[in-house]
């Protein structure tokens, strides 16, 4: 990359041009800082360095050290002080350096951030955005590729949002920062550098937090997905045409709130569904989605809802990750298992 994120943002232009998700996120932070003096960015290396993924590039230079602050190296401390800042009316945007490095802040998140509004009867809302770069596929070594969303999804009081497009990266991050509720904003690392046509000077409006979007219409079956698995599903849908399947792809965009209506409408239409995510299957978000879809679409379903997910193992080392990550083939295999033949063989045990 020769243009830095900051440069790209500063160049005024009316013509939409390719931008990366990293650039859109940077721009969202910049615009939020500029518009609202209550917004403060804090985290490890977010200042001079601009973050290890350069998402905060240029912010300290532009807004000063007190608006974009390098903290001591302690995630519970970062989130805990953010709670205090929010108590005083600020809107902290916290960066966790990697998925697995958010774990030290888990107690603050579960015991305080998620409950503060409720326990104080609305007295202390927590307008905190926690940015968590997550997922694999970037060749990261151990502890750098976790898909940790299941933990957040199971915690009442949090919003869990994850963009899969450049425009959503901007729009959803702005919405997260503007939200008076705590938002876990999960950034799919491997989509950081993918470019899309997007005009940083006129960022298009996107649907808000809690609205799923049908990224591709289809009639044979629905792929329900989010974040890093959206491109996989789009590619699978493309490839499926060769096999005669016309797949619909729903991008959830936020896991909490969960847009049940959009998903259910799609599955009722197609009668079949596969849920795709990178997080381990067992106990992952896919189970919840499958259960919910099934409950409300039972008699519309031609086959059980299937899931294609990461295996139920610790995230593997980079040289093996391709075997772990749900790819196009695995998605198509699952689609194939959606009982397309009208008669089906009587099953024995496994």
């Amino acid at each position: 990359m020769s243009t830095t994120t900051a440069d790209a943002g500063r160049t005024a232009t009316a013509v939409p041009k390719p931008a990366s998700m990293a650039q859109a996120l940077n721009r969202a932070l910049r615009d939020a800082l500029a518009e609202d003096p209550a917004v403060h960015v804090l985290g490890e290396d977010v200042g001079t360095l601009g973050g290890v993924f350069r998402i905060t590039d240029g912010l300290t230079a532009e807004f000063g050290e007190t608006r974009c602050t390098d903290t001591p190296l302690a995630e519970a401390g970062i989130l805990g002080t953010a709670v205090g800042m929010a108590m005083y009316g600020l809107r902290p945007v916290v960066e966790m350096q990697f998925d697995a490095f958010a774990y030290p802040s888990f107690e603050q998140l579960v015991s305080h951030v998620s409950r503060m509004r409720n326990r104080t009867r609305g007295g202390l809302p927590m307008p905190i955005t926690v940015r968590v770069p997550y997922g694999g596929g970037i060749g990261g070594v151990e502890h750098h590729s976790d898909s940790s969303e299941a933990y957040y999804v199971a915690t009442p009081g949090l919003h869990v949002v994850t963009p899969a497009t450049v425009a959503d990266a901007y729009g959803l991050l702005r919405a997260a920062i503007a939200s008076d509720d705590p938002v876990i904003f999960m950034e799919p690392k491997r989509l950081y550098w993918g470019k899309d046509t997007w005009d940083p000077e006129a960022p298009a409006e996107v649907p808000g937090i809690g609205e799923a979007v049908v990224r591709r219409s289809g009639s044979s079956a629905t792929l329900v997905t989010y974040g890093p698995s959206l491109p996989v599903c789009m590619a699978a849908a493309e490839a499926a045409r060769e096999e005669g399947w016309d797949l619909e792809v729903v991008d959830l965009r936020s896991l909490v709130p969960f847009d049940e209506e959009t998903v259910i409408a799609s599955v009722r239409r197609t009668g079949r569904a596969v849920i795709v995510h990178e997080a381990a299957g067992f106990g992952g978000p896919g189970g919840e989605i499958a259960a919910r879809v099934t409950e409300r679409c039972f008699h519309y379903l031609e086959a059980p809802v299937l899931r294609v997910t990461g295996f139920d193992v610790p995230y593997p080392p980079p040289m093996l990750e391709k075997h772990h990550l749900p790819g196009v083939d695995r998605v198509l295999d699952a689609v194939a298992r959606l009982q397309w033949e009208s008669e089906w063989v009587e099953g024995g045990g496994r």
Partner: protein
């Protein structure tokens, strides 16, 4: 000036030119806890009498709250009997605009700050989590997960400073709580940011059953300050004017930009950990007796008498007022609190999610059914899990949402 505002000054030089980044000496606590009672220090009589009255009230409040557990009016009460000088000190040194961050043991500090005792006791009564409005009272919710409120205090103090407000945060924690990672991270952030915050450690000798020496091998808890570049101060936690003086100084330092202070108040938890605890399992009466002789009220009264500041009338008045307070509290706590089950769903989010709306509707329906049943009960005597075939009947209307047509299958 915070380190944030002085870029460039923070580099280590290579060892030949090495020097400590600040002088450690002034950060270390004195060899003995600071004490005023029993010395011939000049003391403000008005302050002494104010402290006395507050201590007497505080003691009575603790007794009353403990009694309320026996009457089933509180789910649990962690008493601060014997530690009143710390609780009162913390409350009195703060200005109205300052914030207090109490732990679960510090209801007395909140009450001494002027909060409604019934609201303060909500958590322990069990009708809601935080019974008061933290922004209105500038008292953070009583905090149960140990030491987790300390970083909140730092963040709040830092935020106030960034906004140019003249606000100090005082955070309370126990000796046991100092072992938690959050204690460490909070103190470190506070010192690096030079946040206007005061940490008051009430070293009452125990974390439930675990005595101090199983908690730390440090010379004192105040010695932890130097590791953060923060002054550590040691005070006799049963010497009310001393606690007040040390905390006042720390609050003043914080307010004037001098940064955070760690104060260790050496005291003792005279009662069991809570009413549910059996302290005889882990300590003997002798130890308790020794400490009872060092009781904060006794010590202060001895001093007041010695200085001719307390006569029987004044003492009796304090006691009488405390009794009145206790009676009022008792009276109010003997009322059943008003409960609203639907509150389960309010303030989980700013706007209820579709899923929560649905769940709320379900609970509302249940409550309505229960109410209807209760209304009918007098005549029919039905009890238990609703009417016999109620479940079957009730479900009819809800079915069929899962498919287009029965025949379609």
């Amino acid at each position: 000036m915070t380190v944030l505002e002085q870029p460039g000054t923070y580099r280590l030089s290579p060892p030949p030119a090495w020097r400590p980044r600040r002088e450690p000496g002034p950060l270390l606590p004195d060899a003995e806890p600071y004490r005023l009672l029993g010395t011939d220090a000049e003391l403000d009589p008005e302050l002494l009498l104010r402290l006395h009255r507050a201590l007497v009230h505080g003691r009575r409040y603790n007794q009353q709250a403990t009694a309320l557990t026996r009457q089933g009016r509180l789910a649990v009460y962690p008493s601060s009997t014997g530690q009143e000088a710390c609780e009162i000190g913390a409350a009195l040194v703060l200005q109205e605009r300052d914030w207090l961050f109490p732990s679960y043991r510090d209801t007395l500090a909140a009450v001494a700050r002027g909060l409604d005792p019934v609201e303060v006791l909500s958590l322990l009564r069990g009708d809601w989590h935080s019974g008061y409005d933290p922004r209105a009272t500038r008292v953070a919710p009583l905090c149960t997960p140990l030491a987790t409120q300390l970083p909140h205090a730092v963040g709040l103090a830092h935020a106030a400073r960034l906004r140019g407000d003249d606000v100090v945060a005082l955070a309370m924690v126990g000796d046991g709580g100092t072992s938690e990672g959050d204690f460490h991270e909070a103190l470190n952030f506070a010192a690096v940011w030079q946040a206007p915050v005061v940490f008051l450690v009430q070293n009452n000798g125990f974390a439930i059953s675990v005595p101090l020496a199983k908690q730390t091998a440090a010379p004192s808890l105040a010695h932890k300050g130097v590791g953060y570049g923060m002054p550590g101060r040691l005070v006799d936690g049963n010497d009310a004017p001393a606690v007040h003086a040390v905390l006042s100084e720390a609050v003043e330092r914080a307010r004037s930009g001098g940064g955070p202070t760690l104060v260790e108040a050496v005291t003792y938890r005279v009662e069991a950990h809570t009413n549910a605890d059996d302290a005889t399992r882990y300590r003997g009466d002798d130890e308790v007796a020794t400490w009872r002789e060092h009781d904060p009220i006794t010590l202060l009264e001895r001093e007041l008498r010695a200085r001719d500041l307390l006569d029987d009338t004044t003492q009796e008045r304090a006691t009488r007022e405390a009794e009145e307070m206790a009676a009022a509290l008792r009276g109010r706590m003997n009322q059943d609190p008003e409960l609203e089950p639907m509150d389960l769903f309010t303030d989980v989010y700013e706007q209820q999610t579709a899923q929560l709306r649905e769940q709320a509707a379900r609970l509302r329906a249940e409550l309505a059914a229960e109410a209807a049943e209760a209304a009918g009960t007098a005549g029919q005597g039905a009890t238990g899990h609703g009417e016999q075939t109620g479940h079957r009947q009730q479900a009819q209307g809800e079915q069929g949402e899962q498919g287009p047509q029965g025949a379609a299958r």
